[in-house]
């Protein structure tokens, strides 16, 4: 199983919970012998999307910004059957670090419109059964942020995977062993939890 793991933790380990969750994901993926391409986004030079749509109508599938690190993410994305996103919840959404890479991932879509569940979406440029897991971390319980996060991930799954989304939120000081246990029960990682 090929997976792409986008780690949207803030720079220099400012979010220990995020780092712990990253370790738990890697341990789980290793146990399943997955081939994981992991990206520590805060350490990478990824410029902001210019919103020019060159990746659709000028250089199909490639971003016009060629002098930064994003192409490696796109290459991994193209072959991945599992997408794993990790982020500290930022107003219920993703961190700027994670979002920068995601904004620049639209070359992995085709410009044309298709209908999914009565809504308009774009087809995948690299179609394959692809599932999405998003893990969010919170300093303490915050049900409103969690609600927005789940809504966002559900919508992302319609746009970037085969529509199935798994959302997990770790809040407070969750130990590594507990994280690994919870990940292990997720169907995304071959577990049987509902």
């Amino acid at each position: 199983m090929k997976a792409v793991f986008l780690k949207g933790s803030p720079p220099a380990g400012r979010d220990p919970l995020c780092n712990r969750a990253a370790a738990a994901v890697m341990a789980r993926a290793h146990a399943l012998s997955w081939e994981v391409k992991a990206f520590a986004l805060a350490t990478m030079n990824i410029k902001a999307c210019r919103g020019c749509f060159s990746c659709w109508t000028r250089t199909p599938g490639r971003c016009i910004i060629a002098d930064d690190d994003q192409e490696a993410v796109l290459r991994a994305w193209a072959g991945a059957e599992r997408i794993i996103l990790l982020t500290p919840l930022t107003f219920g959404g993703y961190s700027p670090e994670l979002k920068k890479a995601l904004d620049r991932a639209i070359p992995a879509l085709l410009p044309f419109f298709i209908r999914i569940n009565g809504e308009t979406h774009h087809p995948q440029r690299y179609p394959r059964p692809r599932r999405l897991l998003a893990i969010g971390t919170l300093k303490g319980p915050d049900s409103e942020s969690e609600e927005v996060f789940r809504d966002l991930v559900g919508r992302n799954a319609l746009n970037m995977s085969d529509g199935e989304a798994t959302t997990m939120v770790f809040s407070g000081d969750v130990p590594l062993s507990e994280m690994e246990k919870r990940l292990g029960t997720e169907p995304f990682f071959g577990g049987t939890a509902q």
């Binding site: 919103g51 109508t57 193209a78 809504e119």
Partner: protein, 226 residues
């Protein structure tokens, strides 16, 4: 002038050539008519430029009303806007309960359906709460591509619902009152039949691709594994 100042932050990388700008700028001129002093800043050029960011943060501190106008990117706010909001919130730590300043937002998305904007509206609401702004509401619309870079006043009948919604929202926003649901629903109304919008978009992409000599290569997969 009633002494109230509105600051518009435009969160599109296309700056003043964006639908976000057309919508936000139109609201600004309406608020001017309600006696507010206006100021407009682009978010993108401020990131990576300390002087501009300092100016932006100071302008946020000085306004009585903050308006965010942005495009939907991957179901939420564009990365540079999240980054900027985080800086604003960090600076305002401890002011959560103050709510002396108000915040309203306009989000436009490229798909025909407005519902895609729902998570973005939630994020903006949580930002307002965490940074201590009184949240007046988020005006969301689909078919944003139909606006383009022209001023809203020049976009004609196609934006009639949106122009009316902004006009009806303006007195509420100017007085710091919540935007009524009926106005939010009016803003969300489709500008044209869905089939027409998607047909126009398909035509536009093909035309652009032809111009760049890649009409037959639109579906290319440069990173496919062989």
């Amino acid at each position: 002038m009633n002494g109230r100042k509105v600051l518009l932050l435009v969160g599109s990388p296309r700056g003043s050539a964006s639908s976000s700008h057309a919508l936000g700028d139109h609201l600004l001129s309406l608020l001017e008519g309600h006696g507010m002093a206006t100021k407009k800043l682009l978010v993108y050029p401020a990131l990576g430029d300390d002087k501009r960011m300092t100016e932006l943060l100071a302008a946020v501190d000085a306004c009585s009303l903050l308006v965010l106008a942005f495009p939907l990117y991957v179901d939420q706010l564009p990365a540079p806007l999240i980054d900027t909001l985080q800086r604003i919130a960090d600076r305002r730590q401890g002011r959560q309960g103050e709510m002396r300043q108000a915040l309203a937002a306009i989000v436009n998305c490229g798909f025909p359906e407005t519902l895609h904007c729902r998570p973005a509206a939630g994020i903006v609401r949580l930002f307002a709460a965490q940074a201590g702004f009184r949240f007046l509401g988020c005006l969301a619309l689909g078919m944003g591509g139909a606006i383009g870079k022209r001023p809203l006043a020049e976009a004609g009948g196609v934006v009639r619902h949106q122009a009316r919604a902004l006009k009806e929202a303006a007195p509420f926003i100017a007085e710091g009152r919540e935007i009524p649901l009926a106005v939010i629903e009016l803003m969300a109304r489709p500008m044209m039949p869905r089939w027409f919008y998607t047909g126009m978009a398909h035509w536009g992409w093909k035309r652009a691709a032809r111009k760049h000599g890649v009409r037959s290569r639109l579906g290319e997969r440069p990173f496919a594994e062989v």
